[in-house]
């Protein structure tokens, strides 16, 4: 746990903000299923629908961090189950590299999560959000990448 985070946690009015890019076919449907199943999870996440996780340009993730997101989730179909056959393989390679780059620049790579959530995994979606919120609470707000406003 980083010191900063611990301090933030003390006076905890701060809430981490998560931007989630979800592929239409699996993960967005998984988030829908979490809703249909009335699974409760923290309200910290804001969802953007994309056709496929491979549509997510690292530029979008950067922009989210610059504008004040504390965490970003990119979720798509499980490898092998992509609606567009191979899209998520590109996502996996691309974002793995991008994460390394974030690490290299001194930005906490844990702030970016890439997860596979199928249309049947409402529970997994809810758990992922809970987990991210916990982790981000420990990490504290993103200050490194944030543009001063």
């Amino acid at each position: 746990m980083n010191k900063n985070g611990a301090a933030e946690r003390e006076n905890s009015t701060w809430q981490p903000k998560i931007v989630a890019f979800l592929c239409n076919w699996c993960s967005y449907a998984g988030a829908d299923l979490a809703g249909v199943s009335r699974l409760k999870y923290p309200a910290n996440v804001r969802i953007i629908r994309v056709p496929c996780s491979s549509r997510v340009n690292p530029q979008f993730i950067l922009r989210a961090f610059q504008r004040g997101a504390d965490g970003v989730l990119v979720a798509g179909c499980h490898p092998g189950d992509c609606h567009y056959v191979t899209g998520n393989y590109f996502t996996r390679r691309r974002l793995m590299l991008f994460k390394r780059l974030l690490e290299f620049t001194g930005f906490a790579p844990e702030r970016l999560k890439v997860r596979w959530v199928s249309a049947a995994e409402g529970g997994r979606f809810a758990e992922t959000i809970k987990e991210m919120v916990e982790e981000l609470r420990d990490l504290g707000p993103n200050r490194v990448m944030r543009e001063e406003k």
Binding site: Q15, K17, V19, N24, W25, C26, Y28, A29, A31, D32, A34, G35, V36, R38, L39, K40, Y41, P42, A43, N44, R46, I47, I48, R49, V50, P51, C52, S54, R55, V56, N57, P58, Q59, F60, R63, A64, R67, G68, A69, C77, G80, D81, H83, Y84, V85, T86, G87, F90, R94, S118, A119, A120, E121, A126
Partner: protein, 661 residues
Amino acid sequence: MPRIGVFVCWCGSNIGGVLDCPAIAKEAASFPGVVFSTDYKYMCSDPGQNLIIEAIREHRLDRVVVASCSPRLHEETFRQVLRRAGLNPYFLEMANLREHCSWVHPHEQEAAQRKAVDIVRRAVAKAARLTPLSPGRIPVTKRCLIIGGGIAGIQAALDVADAGFEVVLVEREPTIGGNMVKLDKTFPTLDCSACINTPKMVAVAQHPRVKLYTYAQVEEVSGYIGNFKVRIRQKAKYVDHSKCTGCGTCWARCPVSVKDEFNLGLGERSAIYIPFPQAVPNKPVIDAAHCRQLTKGKCGVCAKVCPAKAVDYNQQDEIIEVDVGAIVVATGYGLFPWEKVYGEYGYGRYPDVISGMAFERLVNAAGPTGGKIQRPSDGKEPKTVVFIQCVGSRDEAKGKAYCSRICCMYTAKHAHQVLEKIPGARVYVFYIDVRTFGKGYEEFYRRVMEEGAVYIRGRVSKVFQEGSKLIVKGADTLLGEQVEIAADMVVLATGVTPAEGAHDLARMIGIPVDKDGFFQEAHPKLRPVETHTGGVFLAGACQGPKDIPDTVAQASGAAAKVCALLFKDELETNPMVSRVNEALCTGCLACQKVCPYRAIQEAVITERIPGQPPRERIVARVNEGLCQGCGACAVTCRAGAIDLKGFTNDQLLAEVDALCL
């Protein structure tokens, strides 16, 4: 500047019970571009839709945000509303307040309210950047592929073919009929399964518009709705069916004898065989793994005796390619492999502990014992039979939480059959609850109890052999007592699982499976026979455990959907495809490599720069008929020359900005 209208739906109390909809509408009125905003109880209802249309006219709206449920549910509904109001239907953006907010955050209303406002702000930001889109048109191939020749596949094939379309029916076994032809009688009416199934098998095989491939497998599916390309592997049968008359000389003379899978190992068959006497087609195949001629090069009896000279040991697998416009998946189910998991029932070690399907074969007049109920171990008639329900169903410890839906009824049927065929027999049924949900089912169950079946509520903890008896130990939870029964035979109601290979098939076609491995329907209530892949439909037990009436109903439903599709000459294509800005494209074609549909082609353009001679240059060009709109190419392009319509860089960045305020 666009004129945006925001329509916040209460969805009755689904949204309105948690979120303050009027407050959301009020806040939305201040977002850039919003000139009108309101809330209403049910936006998707007729008055709700009219409210939108009137507001579009009155306030000259040209972009619409509906804040309601998931776009996966109602995007199409509201696009039609825009169309009716004379707007381009792609000027719609939805904000998902129900699935993504009110339903999941009822416990933190304040945070949920803030989130809802953000969700609407995101939608407004995107709406402001929407451009009109118009779909292209593609032709429809008027032919349907049906995978799986059980009762589901057969029924769907007959319905589609009777409506006038060509059908290609592919079955991997040597005969069609599926699990239903193995059954003896069918609950609750006790009519003979073969009597209702085999005439349909014959009808489908003889139908002029049905092309039947048995002993065949679908190997590759490409393309998209209206225009699928399918590769089918016809496995070598080693018998030329165009010459074979089905006389049976060969299988009578074949010297090989192996356990017969059709009878679940209770009987035997030869290496050249038909699975059962009423098989369709009624012509044999050679089981290459057991044929002495094919494995050792020594025998050749069947070729020698065949009067039609139909046996051909050199036959090879054949690849067949067909174009179809629609696909019905009807691959049915498998049965829970209790022998691997249920140590307490002996792991399949005791021959007289059998599965329900094995019982069907035993009791079947066309089965290995001619319909006599006999113990597999010594052929004696069992006097005491114990049935155990929910073996691999409703058992989270074994990883199967779901109810298999048919076992209660087939166990009642089996209990009845024992009591009917064996005078003085005693029948015990261990159950958790009895679920008899269908028409006439409860009455049937009561009748079986009146006939003398003893139902014991409780689990069996152990089955073991003692002499010639099987001792069944269990609990009667209603009486609160331990019970012990010395049985002659134990029949396990093994639960339903997805058919073997179902997951591979799902991947090949590109449809999802649910958590239990059954194929996932597009919507459990409103689109139960469709999948999320356009043009692919589901029928029968492949979608979840089902009895025959439900299977047949769904198969006819799938057929109706197929016909509705094939009746069209053309389909509108998804206009959310990618587009290359040729001025920016450097011609590197990196995009081409990531496109799963080979939608990006190389094109040569001539550029005219004033004062210079015209210059030729390579650029990427998207074939809109092939592009499915994933957007992988847009991210790959380093020059930023490709963008995906409907999900443009500009739109997505605006969404990010709106959410990170």
